[in-house]
């Protein structure tokens, strides 16, 4: 049941300036950031990808544009997962938020903003979620040192 839908998605949805492939059994589409929101809306309305599973980013400091933003969706109708990737530069790490389509986007985009500094345009609530107010920087970026500390409460000496 899931094989025809996989082929259909890759035939119909991938825009001209994007690319599609199947990686370890999962369809994966790479699109420009500007086309993302419209594509996700189509996937949700026409292909029943009704669950937004996850969003994260991957930092490639040597590459331009520097970040991959990686989305995972699931269709409870077709029982199929799908991965979406888009690339954003470090100077303007902005993608459209999916909060208008999925309730789960709120928290997950906050986490991605915390960790990588990706700005989700349209998500009004990008307050720190796993980090705390006043934390400087984005710890999962490769240029943030692992031992770099910002204690909120001074250490007792």
């Amino acid at each position: 049941m899931s094989t025809p839908i996989r082929a259909r998605i890759l035939q119909e949805v991938v825009p001209a300036d994007g690319e599609g492939r199947v990686a370890h059994g999962m369809p994966e589409i790479t699109v420009p950031a500007a086309a993302l929101l419209e594509l996700v809306r189509r996937l949700k309305d026409e292909f029943q990808f009704d669950m937004f599973l996850d969003v994260t980013a991957v930092d490639w400091p040597q590459r331009t544009p520097r970040f991959d933003v990686v989305y995972h969706f699931y269709s409870t109708t077709h029982l199929l997962r799908l991965r979406l990737k888009t690339r954003v530069p470090v100077a303007e790490p902005v993608v459209d938020s999916l909060v208008s389509l999925y309730g789960s986007a709120g928290f997950m985009e906050r986490e991605c903003h915390d960790m990588y500094g990706i700005v989700f345009r349209g998500n009004a609530d990008l307050r720190p979620i796993l980090l705390y107010e006043g934390f400087v920087g984005h710890p999962l970026r490769k240029d943030y040192g692992k031992t770099q500390e910002q204690p909120l409460v001074p250490y007792r000496t």
């Binding site: 669950m51 599973l53 029982l79 705390y132």
Partner: protein, 409 residues
């Protein structure tokens, strides 16, 4: 929200609101230092009398840089670390992580390992659900039920310690297999524990199911519809309690689940009572599966014969130069995982536990991301709390079974 007591220290959070809908609304902060919020969750609630108007949930108090740390260790060295995500069912984390790495390496595990992992996943699910049901019953004052359930859980922990050497953080999965095979007599003791489980779970049903106090606190409290649950990315018992039979073990069968006979219990209206009952029924299904698996376990090796990930046998390390080098390279450099990315998910006791791994080749991951059900659930839990009583926060939060380790990572 700065209180005089903590005025000298900055507030780690910024609440979304500082007043309620009405002039006489009260805003209270619940947790994180509260046993019912597991010490890690802070709930800012605007109250109209006892009714909760609006809540703002904050997590992160148990954030320890899991994903950052993972980028600095070999693929194998992460296994003790993933144990500590959902510390009520560490084995399922191990197996989901190992499967993700094995997919990248194109390694197929041996049949005995496949069945053993399935058996232990279900055994872990049993322990996790026992913990959740026991804790939520205790929070409602049912101390007897709590003691019955954690007694069984303790039998399971001790029994898993016989196998893995640890009660909670097992470090038992290996890329391409398992740490060790079953000790003698392990399955016989397993059968005993399952019988004791059945005896005590019958008592829980008798104590709780039709108990007026319990029903009044649980029925029609924390209700969520299927559509809204899907919208908020809810998976696992919360989604199933709304009547939607979505379970990765059936929908995208992994390990040996395709060969097992089991049902996916669902609820009727997605309230606290349904979540309780779904977990109770899922435990019965897990026991049913474990009994099938005990008879299906094939003989044979538990580790694949693949020098890229499996350590050579110890006596060979001491006698052959090739095995010595192999051992050294696997320990010092880590298994050589081809470049690529993969998302692998298992049906953890709380829902979909996914690992998104990125490799650039070599022994250390480039990125490890965990899609943890608890974190996603915290993104929608306000829908379960708003509109109900302040006191309902405790059982509703308990029925969500937030696990700080995987929520905050």
């Amino acid at each position: 929200m700065d209180t005089p007591v903590g005025a000298r220290l900055p507030n780690p959070i910024r609440p979304a609101f500082d007043r309620g809908e009405r002039d006489d609304s009260v805003v209270v902060s619940i947790g994180p230092s509260h046993p019912a919020t597991h010490g890690t969750i802070q709930v800012i609630a605007a109250l109209d009398g006892e009714r909760v108007q609006r809540v703002d949930v904050h997590c992160g108090y148990l954030h320890r840089g899991f994903e950052k740390e993972c980028e600095d260790h070999t693929w194998h060295n992460l296994i003790p670390y993933v144990d500590r995500l959902n510390y009520c069912s560490g084995l399922i984390n191990d197996f989901a992580y190992c499967e993700a790495v094995e997919t990248l390496m194109d390694v197929e595990i041996t049949p005995r390992c496949r069945y053993l992992r399935t058996l232990l996943s279900e055994y872990s699910r049993l322990a996790d659900h026992l913990t959740c049901v026991a804790a939520s019953l205790m929070e409602l004052g049912a101390m007897t039920a709590f003691l019955y359930l954690v007694m069984i859980r303790d039998y399971i922990y001790e029994h898993l310690a016989d196998l893995t050497g640890a009660r909670v953080t097992y470090t038992y999965g290996r890329v391409g297999g398992l740490a060790r095979d079953l000790p003698a007599g392990w399955l016989a003791r397993l059968a005993e524990i399952l019988e004791q489980y059945e005896m005590f779970i019958a008592r829980i049903h008798g104590l709780v199911d039709r108990n007026r106090i319990f029903i009044d606190r649980m029925r029609d409290v924390g209700v969520i519809s299927t559509a809204e649950a899907i919208n908020f990315g809810f998976t696992g018992p919360i989604l199933r309690s709304t009547g939607s039979p979505r379970d990765l073990r059936k929908d995208m069968p992994y390990l040996a689940y395709a060969e097992l006979d089991f049902e996916v219990p669902v609820g009727i209206k997605g309230d606290n009572y349904d979540r309780y009952y779904c977990r109770m029924r899922e435990m019965d299904e897990s026991v049913h599966m474990i009994r099938q698996l005990m008879n299906m376990l094939p003989a044979g090796p538990i580790n694949v014969d693949d020098r890229r990930c499996t350590l050579p046998e110890k006596h060979l390390v001491y006698t052959e130069i090739e095995s010595l080098i192999n051992h050294f390279k696997l320990i010092m450099d880590g298994p050589d995982v081809p470049a690529g990315d993969v998302y692998a998910a298992h049906e953890a006791p709380n829902g979909e536990l996914g690992f998104y791994l990125v490799s650039t080749g070599g022994g250390t991951p480039y990125k490890v991301h965990v899609r943890s059900p608890s974190f996603v659930h915290m993104g929608g839990v306000h829908r379960l709390l708003e509109g109900y009583q302040l006191a309902d926060i405790i059982p509703t939060f308990g029925s969500v079974n937030m696990i700080g380790g995987e929520c905050d990572r």
